[in-house]
Amino acid sequence: MANPKDIGKVFKEKLEGFNTTPSQLSWEDIESKLPKKEKRPLIYWIRIGSVLVLSSLLLTFGYITFTKTTIHNSNTNNTPQNTTIDHCVEPNFNKNNITDIKENKTIKEDYLDTIRSIKEEINTKTDVVSHYTNTNTDSKSNLPIAQLKNNKFGSKASKSSSSAIKDANTYQKSLSNNDHNSINNDTLSFQFSNSKNKNITNHVLTDSSGIAKTPKDSLDSESLIKKEEVVAKRKPKDTLIYLKPKKKPLFQKFSIGVHLTPTYTFTPKGSLLSNLIANNKNNGRISLNYGILFKTYYSKKTALRIGYNRTKLSSITKSIPSDQIEIVLRDVGISLPNNFTVEDINTLDLVQKISYNEISFGAQHQIIDRNIKTSILMGMNILFLNQNALSVRNSSNTIKVGSARNLQKASFNFNIGANFEHSITKHIYLNAEPIFNFQLKDASDTTESYRHLFFTLQTGLSYKF
């Protein structure tokens, strides 16, 4: 045997680099047996869930805000009516009636009918009142103090009757809150016919003073007449107009804004890439991000915040021995490019930039309402890894080497900060928001991985409506 060789080695040598093309198998044969393209279920459901939660929150708070505002307005409309009741009660005619009036503060449906009937009653009784007051002018001890001082009441029966009309009108108001049954001819007859101990005029005027509170109102007959006319012309709802509270400033329920966000990443000890460089010094870097923020104001001070941010975090790991760099990169699935030579360099730096799509949820509450409004805020962010880039840097140049494969695809942040808001126009505001973000989950799957801590300064404009 001239050249004896192991038969296995001979076969290996001869079959080295052997390639051949299958004659019948084509791509179509394989494609037909591959599963149809579908989205990854976890990501898909996270997306669907996020959209649902977002929509539900918006709808809920929108509904609550709207409902609350409506109720608030309804309450302010009711208040004057209650005030009217309070001011108009206590006519002191009949204690039973007073009790009824005080106890019964509901407005009856036949209010208008009652007023009309009362007015008729008053018209028919005006003469009686005039006569009655004239016959009692000598009984000064029964007159109100103000009238005694001015001594006008007895000599001006017509004016006193005007007062009586006014008081009767006041009584009408009080009756508006009273049981309809208590307002009838009998009651009035009783009040006028049983005035032995208490002069009816006295009652009426006392009641009048009870409303107007100042003697002038009851004594200045001309102004009184004018007032009577105005009062007589008033419709029940006019009272509400007169007593309507001051119009509140515009409540802007929603706000939408854009912002630029300088971000500084704090880098604690550890490494997102490899345990080999866990003890190397890490330095954070500043990056510029951007985002959009939508706010729903639950009240003037409290708002729900939902936003989207494009967040890039950047850090640098320093002084990695050049003979270790290839091992470190291999750990994360990267091989050094051919054009990269370490030559005489002893150490290298590794720059890592990680980009996230961030969905933020949170709330803010205003604590200072000055020219610059100040609020505190806190919330949660969901971060979806978008892309990451690794670069090796030596003293002269930086070479991008690839992307790490060991980063977490999704993680969560807790954030806390403040909002400073300054009004530029009625609707446009300038905002500055310093915020601290704490990552709640390790950023990569290495055992020496750390959680990101970064500071952002969201600065931008918002539009309130």
Binding site: I7, L15, E31, K33
Partner: protein, 184 residues
């Protein structure tokens, strides 16, 4: 296109990228299948099964190690699965009986097709062990794990495979010589 980008696109179930990957590695993997399978048709079937598995499991590839090696392993495993049920004839072989089977390299002037035919004609188990050990560089320990046999059996099968190959090659050579002489 950069292979990493291509793999990433395949991981996203991109049909165009999958097609590109198929045409890129088809020939290499088909040659591998031809060595492990009995014949051409079985090799094509094996290649098809292998590619379907590759695309279904490509998300499991974590960019650690060679991608080609990962695909080759899948292709080999597919072939092994097919023949794993074949029973062994000789599980108990004394290791001292195993010797190197040598042949004169100059005498082995055969084409690639002829070499492949010799390999394909080996019994399934012998063929698998011969391919794994001699052509693809697996150790007996690894082969034992892959084929769920003992290391001794692996060594024995390899020896027998080589012996069969040598016998066949030499006998074919004798036949050829006789034919030449009788014709001459």
């Amino acid at each position: 296109m950069d292979i990493k980008k291509l793999i990433k696109k395949c991981q996203k179930n991109n049909r165009k990228a999958q097609s590109e990957l198929f045409y890129l590695y088809r020939d290499i993997l088909f040659a591998l299948s031809l060595k492990y399978c009995k014949n051409y048709n079985e090799a094509e079937d094996n290649l098809q099964d292998a590619f379907i598995t590759i695309f279904n499991k490509i998300n499991q590839y974590n960019f650690k190690g060679s991608f080609e090696g990962w695909m080759k392993r899948i292709t080999i495993n597919k072939a092994i699965d097919k023949y794993k049920k074949t029973p062994y004839l000789d599980n108990f072989v004394q290791e001292e009986t195993i010797e190197d089977v040598v042949i004169d390299a100059e005498e082995l002037q055969l084409s690639l097709d002829e070499l492949l035919i010799y390999i394909q004609e080996l019994p399934d188990r012998y063929r698998l062990v011969f391919n794994l050990y001699e052509l693809d560089g697996y150790s007996h320990k690894e082969i034992a794990t892959m084929l769920t046999i003992s290391e001794g059996t692996s060594k024995s099968n390899l020896h027998r495979a080589k012996s069969i190959l040598k016998t066949k090659i030499l006998s074919d050579k004798d036949c050829f010589k006789k034919k030449v002489l009788s014709n001459g």
